[in-house]
């Protein structure tokens, strides 16, 4: 893993077409601006972790039936 130290207002460029800028730092929160081509999906990492957890939880579904709810 590449580790860098940056100040507010400074940035990082990835692969020439992705630029990441540190917009501000306040306490333990960092605001980050990212510019990337449309085909690059950007999401908070925890969304993938949570989706993994939810997919695994979904498989443990109890037996269900909506028969009674049918009109």
């Amino acid at each position: 893993m590449l580790v860098l130290s940056r100040k507010a207002g400074e940035g990082i460029t990835v692969n020439q077409d992705i630029s990441i800028e540190i917009l501000s730092i306040e306490g333990d929160r960092v605001r980050i601006g990212i510019q990337a081509p449309r085909d690059v999906r950007i999401y908070r990492s925890e969304l993938l972790d949570q989706t993994i957890d939810l997919n695994r939880a979904a498989v443990k579904t109890p037996n269900i039936s909506f028969g009674a709810a049918r009109p």
Binding site: L48, V59, I64, A69
Partner: protein
């Protein structure tokens, strides 16, 4: 081909019903082939059943069938990965988590599973958007759709044992 499932027994299905997930599904990266099962007792919940592991069946809804205002932005390159030629071949489903208290079931709107039904290729994509909660209470919407009736064809394997 005969497909064994833990939850619903055996299904005899055409190979053409197989859906390949080249990168798997998050949490099940090693499983690459699924079929969509349509079980009358659980409709409008369908099941994305692994054909490689009988214990892995994800309950899913065809989200556009249940929610009137679901909106996702699928990127050109994602459509290319799925080899989509026509929007009509796209099926969008979302995974439902159903606890013992069924009324508390939620759907992961942030991670739609997108399938090209014509070519049999699928992918779960993650979309970071405020309008797409990862745990959205979906029970009431499912009950409403049951009363409303009328469902689209998911290309699912019907129960025929």
């Amino acid at each position: 081909m005969l497909i064994e499932t833990e939850r619903f027994g055996c299904f005899d299905t055409k190979d053409s019903k197989l859906i390949e997930f080249p990168s798997g599904i998050p949490g099940f990266e090693d499983l690459h082939y699924y079929i969509i099962l349509e079980i009358p007792q659980t409709k409008p919940i369908y099941w994305l059943q692994s054909t490689e592991n009988k214990y892995v069946a994800l309950p899913v809804i065809l989200t556009f069938e249940i929610l009137d205002d679901y909106y996702i932005d699928i990127r050109e390159n994602e459509l290319e990965d799925l080899m989509v030629e026509s929007q009509n071949d796209l099926l969008v489903m979302n995974v439902v988590v159903i606890p013992e208290q069924v009324e508390q079931m939620t759907v992961n709107l942030a991670a739609p599973i997108v399938i090209n039904t014509k070519r049999g290729i699928g992918k779960q994509i993650i979309i970071d958007a405020q309008a797409l909660p990862i745990r959205w209470p979906v029970y009431d919407a499912i009950m409403r759709s049951l009363i409303k009736g009328g469902q689209q064809d998911a290309g699912a394997v019907q129960e025929s044992r």
